[in-house]
């Protein structure tokens, strides 16, 4: 049990936890914006944690560098996609959920 193994397992557990919370939010939250909020943020961090864990597990090699490049790409592209989808929904007139509109 080396330090690298401990780090790998810890980061994978953190990543899976954020995937789980994001998915629960996607299923349970009441409207479109809240669902985007749940998945957009937590999935980005979860992907980053999982890829970092894989890179640490693989050691110092070209494949680890490629994994980190994917992580950087997701880190920029995922929030941008979430932003564009939310903005398009707002322009199209999707109303946010409130207690009043639901009663």
């Amino acid at each position: 049990m080396t330090i690298a193994n401990v780090l790998t397992v810890a980061l994978l557990v953190i990543g899976c936890f954020f995937f789980l919370t994001g998915t629960i939010g996607l299923v349970r939250f009441p409207d479109f914006y809240a669902r985007m909020h749940a998945t957009g943020k937590s999935d980005t961090l979860a992907v980053f944690c999982c890829l970092l864990a894989l890179a640490i597990h693989h050691g110092l090699a070209l494949d680890s560098f490629k994994l980190l490049l994917i992580a950087v790409f997701v880190y920029v592209a995922n929030p941008t996609g979430t932003h564009a989808i939310c903005r398009a929904a707002f322009r199209a007139g999707v109303k946010p959920w409130t207690r009043k509109t639901n009663k």
């Binding site: 790409f73 920029v76 592209a77 941008t80 932003h83 564009a84 903005r87």
Partner: protein, 153 residues
């Protein structure tokens, strides 16, 4: 819908930064296709997707300046010409269609090496053709079939 430029600064900046990286990655997928997963078709789709991203963020008018209809049609037929030309060249040199070992007669690098180079040439052709086909399919779908002239839309 696509004729005007998006006013979204975040999307435009991210697209401007990321399109070159996506295209370099697509070239890597094409050039490395015979050693690893990927190849001409996949790399061509990634290249086409990067141009489609440009169309989505910057509007049709600005993107057409870089990748117009004429250039798309030209690249489409060029890709098919490279692919079919290498195949027919093998036939002319006395082998079967797309039998790259017969390319050795003009390349003089050995049968194995000429097979590798022949596959690379075919994949470059497929990549160009697929990229151009992706863009023209996207243009056809997004404009409903009739592309308006740039002057009067």
């Amino acid at each position: 819908m696509l004729s005007r430029e998006s006013d979204n600064l975040i999307v435009k900046t991210v697209v401007r930064i990321f399109v070159p990286f996506i295209q370099v990655y697509a070239l890597y997928v094409i050039a490395h296709g015979h050693y690893s997963p990927g190849g001409g078709f996949q790399g061509g789709v990634i290249l086409g997707a990067s141009i489609v991203l440009l169309f989505l963020a910057y509007g049709r008018r600005q993107a057409m300046r870089r990748m117009g209809e004429g250039l798309t049609a030209f690249m489409n037929s060029t890709g098919v010409f490279i692919y079919g030309g290498i195949g027919l060249l093998c036939l002319l040199l006395g082998g079967n269609l797309l039998d790259y070992a017969s390319l050795d007669r003009i390349l003089h690098v050995g049968a194995a090496q000429s097979r590798s180079l022949g596959i690379l040439g075919v994949e470059v052709g497929v990549g160009i053709a697929v990229m151009a086909a992706m863009i023209s399919i996207f243009l056809d779908i997004s404009t409903g079939g009739d592309l308006p002239d740039d002057d009067n839309d």
